[in-house]
Symmetry: none
DNA sequence: TATACTAATGACTAATCGGTCATTTGTCAA
DNA sequence: TTGACAAATGACCGATTAGTCATTAGTATA
């Protein structure tokens, strides 16, 4: 789908310049050099466009970071590489960052809110994974606080990339923040963020996932999905939802199959939530 | 002006629910129980409303914090009280916080952008004042980094108040963050944020680079720069600024020569901006 | 060349927007 | 009761919006 990509790119430019609500479909199609009708061949509504964009760009950001975290880099340099990859991403993709990290209008649309939260949770998990790897048992109660600090560093320092194009030394920035993280991790004694708190913020809308809406979501995903492990997993899960049979480990495995493919991460997240996994 | 206050309050509710662009004047007047005409007796335009609101709420937030900073509290407790006042404000005024700290659509309106930046600068100044008071000469080069960390803590932890209404122990939060700040201040050795950088972000980025200031900057760089490709490039560029002769590709090449050397990256950036390259 | 089919168009609609202004309502002193 | 003045109204305006659909253009097959 080349057309879809083109629209997303140009729309991104406009959203980052003017904001989502203030940008009209007309403007988007003009910048693409296509007709208004052509837009609606690619996306059913304007909302569908922004949803696709969130999936496209946030997905990439989160998985990029996760890749560094899960890489075989030595402990000495992992933290530095972690920060370097994050700010490299902010530098190269300042426009999407501006839109998705700042435009919280998006949060008034429930579906998007959930999705953005979900990606934030993914990011948190990556960071926690890294911290456990780096410090193992040294961090007990302060693990989640260190995670919050890291996210704070990201938020604060990323503004340098988002609101200006001053040339910055990424290496030094990464080393500087790695040192700060190290210091915080080694010396903090007063915890505040508990595991319980993290779980609470992960699902602020304690809205239950209804069986009906979940089956519909799965139906949509199955459409236009060719024969594959993912399809089979999804079909098995669908049966499972209608009539419980398998045990938790099997379910978890099936969901994990889906999670590997970026396109299915969201549906995997929702199913996991439904089964409380 | 009671009517003005009423409108601002109700508008704030709606903005925090739906965002600025997505909220119509009609909706505001309906919630206020007044007519559309009455709205325009208080505010000339919808934009004037949001500007007034920014002034009203951000003003209060910044001055509240500044009051604590400038107070006669002892060093031991000042940091804790600083954080307590900040999160107290976030707790009590979650709605304005949601609007003004997250809705960066506002930034597409130039006048507002400048104003919000101005308040951010005020906040930074308060924090720096506090750090100088607390640590005096102990912090040399890392002063601005500590300030960025504090702002990062604020951004990260404030989400707990903005996106949920979980009951939280403000005292422990403040003590926890005060400890983190203390640790960072005492142990950081690798600085990243320089005074120059802070001044740059304080200025609106669209500012034209004047020929005069540019020549001065180049002059500074030429001093203490021995004979080299970089020096020659810089001298050629200096001549070029005073009297255009070369074509764009040549200029770009000369600037590129400078960019390779970290020390000259900044001057390269400014020159590129001057020539619109 | 004729046919069949998809991709693309842009005039069109109904709704909504920010903003205006002739008119009505409410409140005084005389 | 009247007249004068300000406060408040809401029908109305032109512009703009998201979204539709009859029509046309382009392309592949027969």
């Amino acid at each position: 789908m080349l057309k879809k990509q083109l629209i997303m790119e140009k729309a991104l430019e406009l959203f980052s310049e003017q904001g989502f609500e203030a940008t009209s479909v007309q403007q988007i199609t003009e910048r693409c050099g296509i007709s208004k009708g052509a837009f609606y061949l690619s996306f059913k509504t304007k909302d569908e466009l922004i949803i696709s964009m969130v999936e496209n760009y946030l997905q990439r950001f989160v998985t990029d970071v996760d890749q560094v975290v899960k890489s075989s880099l030595s402990k000495d340099i992992k933290l530095v590489e972690f920060y370097k990859s994050i700010f490299q991403a902010f530098k190269n993709h300042a426009a999407p960052a501006r839109v998705f990290f700042n435009e919280k209008v998006l949060l008034s649309k429930k579906e998007l809110f959930q999705k953005i939260i979900a990606y934030d949770v993914e990011m948190s998990k990556s960071i926690i994974y890294m911290l456990e790897q780096l410090y193992q048992d040294e961090l007990h109660e302060t693990k989640y606080d260190v995670m919050y600090c890291i996210k704070g560093f990201m938020k604060s320092y990323s503004e340098l990339f988002i609101f200006s194009d001053i040339p910055l030394d990424l290496d030094q920035l990464a080393r500087s923040l790695a040192e700060k993280t190290e210091i915080i991790a080694r010396h903090t004694t007063i915890p505040f963020i508990t595991e319980e708190l993290v779980q609470l913020t992960a699902k602020p809308c304690n809205e239950e996932v209804s069986q009906e809406s979940l089956l519909e979501l799965i139906g949509q995903h199955l459409d236009g999905l060719e024969e594959s492990i993912e399809r089979e997993s999804l079909e098995l899960l669908k049966v499972q939802i209608e009539n419980t049979t398998y045990s938790k480990p099997i379910l978890k495995g099936l969901i994990e199959n889906l999670r590997l493919q970026p396109d299915h991460r969201w549906v995997a997240y929702v199913i996991a939530k439904y089964f409380n996994i």
